[in-house]
């Protein structure tokens, strides 16, 4: 039995809605040109030379010992960081969900820890690590009197990345633990299992796919990370930094492209496993809602050590962040602790700080609303409409999550510096602010889309259908029904993408031209030069901006958000 005319009728109906069709076409073009095309170009670059299809380029780069070394380095860091972040994340999540926290202070501490990595540029911890534990580090040099401690290299990267990424695991696992029905564990306890036994035989197996999920997410983040290895890696090169040096130092564009393909393959593989296997599995085992509240552990022999351990870790992380503004205010870090504003002064006088903030701010502010709107449109199409090409749109916008910034950057260089396919078409884009905005959009699209999709899934399909049925076309339905209903998600998408853009570095550093000064690039530059005072001053101001944006967002959601508006009138 074959499907009859319904497919052609659906197509006719779709064409009867020109705004919708145009949107879909434009979206597909955008995703193809700015995500798929640059990646495809990398493949072409690395597999094709004058003599046709070839593996020469790969042979050549595999012959480079520093490249081979960087692969093992990257994987080693990825594994260690993935495991460490997952375990620490699990500890925090477990303590929050299972252990009676004595004070409000602890709750605040946990919240702060989960919030800090979101609002800070991704590499400030490297700065603080050097300032606390490096040669001139306050802790190593002044407290412990060690004068030759080196934080550069494997352990530096691993520690900094773990501290940066574990809050992500913590948030993921917290959600999972919350959904475990307490009666499962109570049943096991009731049958005589000890608390430890319950954890090992009930809780742990239930969250195992979730743990795998958290591990892979961190793993991908870790191997895609560019700035931390750049600042604290020293001579310990990872793939991301090797690629960067290959193109900026050795001017070997083909080699860099091939290296980028290797990095992309690794992240892509991890992403596919994570997205299509583990994510599905972890929601399958834990679909139920907790039937009632969990009895928290009050046993002091358990609570005290766990609380102390978590607090110590949390305080340590916070200390590292606090180190940044202080770094910007001490005369000479490690030698002269008189407070001064000279670094802030220098930022704005000698180092064109005002222009840097203006450029970063404006570019991010342009990309944020576009990203937010785009991701809401994509989520609407994916969740509420059916049409050919929907799978493509969803897959490609999610795929962007698995593409490391460095890879995207190389792809853009190779794909756009000579125009599309070297034809000169769209060449004008290269080197402009527009391409930076596009990179910002592409980099933030997956997160926005993800939150949009989950928000829309909660809205009864028939609400939009009713508007459609009343005579509204897709555009009207989207503007008068969908968007108002997911205003919260839109707002948070707006701010998240603003924050992500203004703190982004990996792809941008490859594409930015001297006509644009970006804060993150400045911080990176000064940190590499060892001018920590300036770097800290830049970073401090940046954190203030991003934190301010997040506060503003929360305020907006609270006062203008959908849920509040509906609740308030109740």
């Amino acid at each position: 039995m074959a499907k009859g005319q319904s497919a052609s009728l659906d197509r006719k109906k779709l064409l009867g809605d020109p705004v919708l069709v145009t949107t879909i076409v434009l979206l597909i073009v955008f995703l193809t040109v700015f995500i798929l095309y640059p990646l495809a170009i990398l493949l072409v670059d690395s597999f094709v030379n004058e003599s046709g299809l070839t593996l020469e380029t790969f042979k050549r780069i595999m012959g480079l010992s520093n490249f081979r070394k960087s692969i093992t380095n990257t994987l080693k860091v990825g594994f260690v960081v993935g495991i460490a972040s997952t375990l620490i994340g699990l500890l925090f999540a477990y303590v929050e969900e299972y252990v009676k926290l004595r004070t409000k202070f602890m709750g605040g501490l946990f919240k702060l820890v989960s919030m800090l990595p979101v609002v800070s540029p991704p590499f400030v911890l490297s700065l603080s690590m050097i300032m606390l534990f490096g040669k001139a580090g306050i802790i190593t040099r002044f407290l412990l009197k060690i004068y030759d401690n080196s934080v550069y290299g494997f352990w530096g990267i691993a520690i900094v990345q773990t501290l940066t990424f574990f809050p992500v695991c913590y948030m993921m696992l917290k959600g999972l633990l919350k959904n475990i029905d307490p009666s499962l564990e109570e049943a096991a306890r009731d049958m005589g299992a000890s608390r430890f036994k319950v954890f090992m035989t009930v809780t742990f197996p239930l969250i195992l796919p979730g743990l795998g999920n958290a591990f892979l997410v961190t793993f991908i983040e870790s191997i895609a990370d560019f700035a931390n290895p750049m600042i604290i890696g020293g001579s310990y090169d990872t793939l991301a930094t090797t690629i960067y040096l290959q193109i900026t130092g050795a001017y070997d564009k083909q080699g860099a492209a091939a290296m980028a393909v290797v990095l992309l393959m690794i992240t892509l593989l991890m992403f596919v496993v994570q997205k299509y296997y583990l994510e599905r599995k972890s929601t399958a085992t834990l679909s139920g809602k907790a039937s009632r509240e969990r009895m928290l552990i009050t046993d002091k022999s358990v609570t005290i050590p766990l609380t102390v351990l978590c607090s110590a870790l949390a305080l340590f992380v916070i200390l590292m962040y606090v180190c940044v503004p202080f770094g910007a205010m001490f005369k000479t870090w490690g030698y002269d602790f008189h407070l001064t504003f000279k670094w802030f002064g220098l930022v704005f006088t000698k180092y064109k700080g005002f222009k840097a903030f203006k450029d970063s701010f404006i570019l991010s502010l342009i990309s944020a609303p576009i990203t937010a709107l785009l991701s809401m449109i994509i989520s609407y199409l994916v969740v509420k409409r059916k049409f050919k090409g929907k799978g493509f749109i969803e897959a490609v916008s999610m795929l962007a999550m698995a593409v490391p910034g460095t890879v995207l950057g190389i792809g853009y260089i190779r794909g756009f510096s000579g125009g599309l396919f070297g034809s000169g078409l769209l060449q004008g884009l290269y080197g402009t602010g527009a391409i930076l905005v596009i990179v910002f959009i592409v980099r933030s699209l997956p997160t926005g889309t993800r939150s949009g999709i989950s928000a829309l899934r909660q809205i009864d399909k028939s609400i939009e259908e009713s508007a459609y049925d009343m005579g509204a076309d897709s555009f009207r339905v989207f503007m008068t029904v969908t968007l108002p209903l997911i205003k919260d998600s839109f707002l948070s998408g707006f701010v998240t993408s603003f924050v992500r853009s203004i703190t982004a570095i990996s792809a941008i550093i490859l594409l930015v031209t001297p006509s644009y000064l970006l804060i993150t690039v400045q911080i990176n530059e000064f940190a590499e030069k060892g001018s920590y005072g300036i770097a800290c001053a830049f970073a401090t101001i940046l954190i203030v901006i991003t934190y301010g944006s997040v506060l503003l967002m929360n305020f907006m959601i609270k006062h203008f958000g959908t849920s509040r508006q509906i609740k308030a009138k109740e």
């Binding site: 039995m1 074959a2 499907k3 009859g4 005319q5 319904s6 497919a7 009728l9 659906d10 006719k12 109906k13 009867g16 809605d17 009864d460 028939s462 609400i463 259908e465 009713s466 508007a467 459609y468 049925d469 009343m470 005579g471 509204a472 076309d473 009207r476 008068t480 029904v481 108002p484 209903l485 959908t562 508006q565 509906i566 009138k569 109740e570």
Partner: protein, 353 residues
């Protein structure tokens, strides 16, 4: 009130879905031919999964048929999107816009039609009067009870004066008592507005109470289109007989015109086109027979229970279990389990299939 009552016609409509588990295609609706008269109230009735909602959604335009053509009035509408069809739907979940108040919800369709503000105001006020929600314009949807939300959904659909009004199980989220009063209300409003209505439900008493005609569906196939009375007294087949009300099926042989033999006893029974010698099933409604000492068909009581309005019996006729409800048991003999008795049938009550 409606500018033009429109009929709906479905010609050879089929809808094919893919079973998500087996990956095989199956007919959700198969070769449905329906003629819905302008101004009539028609119910699509059947158990869940019978294709009734799919049919309704094809009329609304949310689903596209795989075969056949749908006409609204005389216009073929297969290729029209829902927003361009002259239909309005009342959803099971009401689907009110939660960020609008009642007035804006009802005015939504009118605003899309770019009507004058004052006209909109008048129309909305009038329609809210009609559904009994005067003065509630400024409430938010979540400040209303389920029944009130249902009225808003109805008002919103009515106010745009559609050619056809579609109902998708609109009462299934209400409690039993409210369901009964709302269905009378819906019928009243439909009559007052004089609008064509297609109504989907799985509740046969609801269908009987409000419809001019019922369309009984099973597994994608239209089993019967008739008035509720016809469906009850003259069902097309066992499925319809069983689905509409309660039915006993007695095995019998046709003896001649309107005469059958049940378990050795000759009984008067409408035989329709069946001819002598045919095996058949005689449909007996529980209230269609009483137990007596001198009736026609012999039966043995296996269950007897006083229910108030009636005495509830299960009796064996041969090896068939038959359920009988003997009304007003106060004045009749009560049989106990194990008693032998005879069924005596009411006039014109039996119908052979």
């Amino acid at each position: 009130m409606a500018k033009e009552k429109k009929g709906v016609r479905l010609e050879h409509i089929s809808k094919i879905y893919k079973d998500p588990k087996t990956g095989k295609d199956f007919y959700a609706v198969k070769d449905a031919n329906l003629e819905i008269e302008p101004g009539s109230f028609v119910t699509l009735l059947g158990p869940s999964g019978c294709g009734k909602t799919t049919t309704l959604r094809m009329i609304a335009g949310f689903e596209s048929p795989d075969e056949g053509e749908i006409y609204l009035g005389n216009e073929p509408i297969n290729a029209l999107t829902p927003n361009k069809r002259d239909t309005a739907m009342v959803f099971q979940s009401y689907a009110l816009l939660p960020h609008y108040n009642i007035f804006d919800n009802v005015a939504y369709g009118l605003k899309l039609r770019k009507m004058d503000k004052n006209v909109i105001k008048k129309k909305v006020t009038d329609i809210l009067d009609l559904v009994g929600l005067q003065g509630m314009e400024n409430r938010m949807t979540n400040q209303l009870s389920g029944g009130q939300q249902q009225r808003v959904a109805l008002a919103r659909a009515l106010v745009i004066e559609p050619g056809v009004l579609l109902f998708d199980e609109p009462l299934s989220n209400l409690d039993a008592k409210l369901r009964v009063s709302m269905r009378t209300e819906i019928r009243r409003i439909q009559q007052e507005a004089g609008i064509t209505a297609v109504y989907v439900t799985h509740d046969q008493s609801e269908a009987m109470a409000i419809s001019d005609k019922v369309i009984i569906m099973n597994k994608g196939i239209v089993e019967q289109i008739s008035t509720p009375q016809e469906a009850y007294y003259y069902p097309n087949n066992q499925f319809v007989a069983d689905f509409i009300g309660e039915a006993n099926f007695l095995k019998a042989t046709v003896e001649g015109q309107d005469m059958v033999n049940i378990n050795g006893s000759k009984v008067k029974c409408a035989t329709g086109s069946l001819s002598a010698g045919n095996e058949c099933n005689v449909v007996l409604r529980p209230e269609g027979a009483a137990l007596t000492d001198n009736g026609t068909v012999k039966a043995k009581v296996v269950y007897s229970c006083f229910m108030g309005p009636y005495q509830d019996y299960h009796v064996m006729v041969g090896d068939t279990l038959v359920k009988i409800q003997d009304y007003n048991p106060k004045n009749s003999k009560i049989y106990k389990v194990g008693d032998e008795a005879f069924l005596s049938f009411a006039e014109n009550t039996l119908y052979a299939l």
